[in-house]
Symmetry: C2
Subunit: 218 residues, 2 copies
């Protein structure tokens, strides 16, 4: 009997992610894959984004967490369709987890799907899920050394939201260095300075995102 | 030809970690494995701990990062032996990486080895490296939902340092919930409230750590 060796688990994942993408294209669903360290403000950004765009698009959310439904409960309160993926120890969402989650939605009634990945600045960046774009957050208390220490996520993301900008007076965060080092890794990275607490920078982020979604749906 | 299947990569790691542990025991080296999210303050804690204990113990440090020597450079400035492990994309330190790093040290001249893991609240908790104890940090800007969302690290650690306690007035951090949920996961977890910026809580942490090291070396 021939033993088949899967040389690279990422190849298998890429294939499933491409199938997800085909399904999303068929239904004209724009998908973002939202990534960051734990506690950088992903769920708060999802809440803000839903608030700004729910009258314009039919939005759905997939929440990825190791366990618990803490984040999904926050989204469900907004009366938005949401599925919680519990990875059971896994440190990222992969294409297959998204595939398993999709039957819970009526895809014909979604324009815009937000996937909030597990809080982790490393592994989520390695796994495609069928998204249109990856978006990442970096929060000011984490420090400006993160681009040079965790380069892949900065390279893979289309936009970087520097969050908790309201905490700048209380933390040692070199904003210019963070932006400079991020752009050195990825010259086309779009950078926003935001606070999900005060809503600073929200309009620029929403305008950029809307333009992307509209261009896709046209 | 017989095909050998490694059923569980963690089994192989446990074996190497046990060999590291034997080596540390032979040289009476107390080892802590320091873990947290990116930017929670691990390197600052290492600096503070070195400052408090360098006259009492001969200290060495292993820094784990995906790339770069940013943290190791900070430690080297203190004139402390330090080795940088670059994981090259890997999201945690494992037993073999530690084994490979050890020849760079003169083990007969070390009492206390601090290993700073890659910033990641998930995977580092799964891999033993030959440490005496695991120590974790949680910083207040990350939020009090972290124990319920990332339980393994709280279960595996002997002590939890809640860091950036100086930022409490500016962030929504429910300290009592964080402590309660951490203890629900691990009833013997020792919890310290600290600020590596202001040195708050340092004396309690150092006293506890010193007691552990002295008991081991006796």
């Amino acid at each position: 009997m021939k033993v088949t060796v899967v040389k690279n688990v990422l190849d298998a994942n890429d294939r499933i992610a491409a199938e997800n993408r085909e399904l999303f294209d068929r239904h004209k669903i724009y998908v973002i894959n939202l990534m960051s360290s734990p506690g950088a403000g992903k769920t708060s950004l999802v809440e803000r984004t839903i608030g700004a765009l729910r009258d314009k698009y039919r939005i759905a959310v997939i929440e990825g967490d190791i366990q618990d439904t803490y984040d999904a409960d926050r989204i469900a309160k907004l009366d938005i369709p949401v599925v919680q993926i519990n990875t059971g120890g896994g440190c990222h969402i992969d294409g297959n987890m998204i595939r398993e989650a999709l039957p819970a939605f009526d895809l014909s009634k979604i324009d815009f799907l937000i996937v909030e990945n597990v809080g982790n600045l490393v592994c989520p960046a390695e796994f495609k899920i069928g998204e249109n774009i990856k978006i990442m957050l970096l929060s000011t208390p984490e420090g400006a050394d993160k681009p040079s220490k965790y380069p892949l996520m900065f390279q893979e993301s289309s936009a970087l939201l520097i969050n908790k900008i309201d905490l700048m007076p209380y933390v040692d965060f070199d904003l210019e260095k963070a932006k400079r080092d991020s752009l050195a890794l990825h010259k086309d990275l779009k950078i926003f300075e935001v606070s999900c607490k005060t809503a600073a920078g929200r309009d620029e982020w929403i305008a950029w995102l809307t333009q992307r979604i509209d261009a896709f749906k046209k």
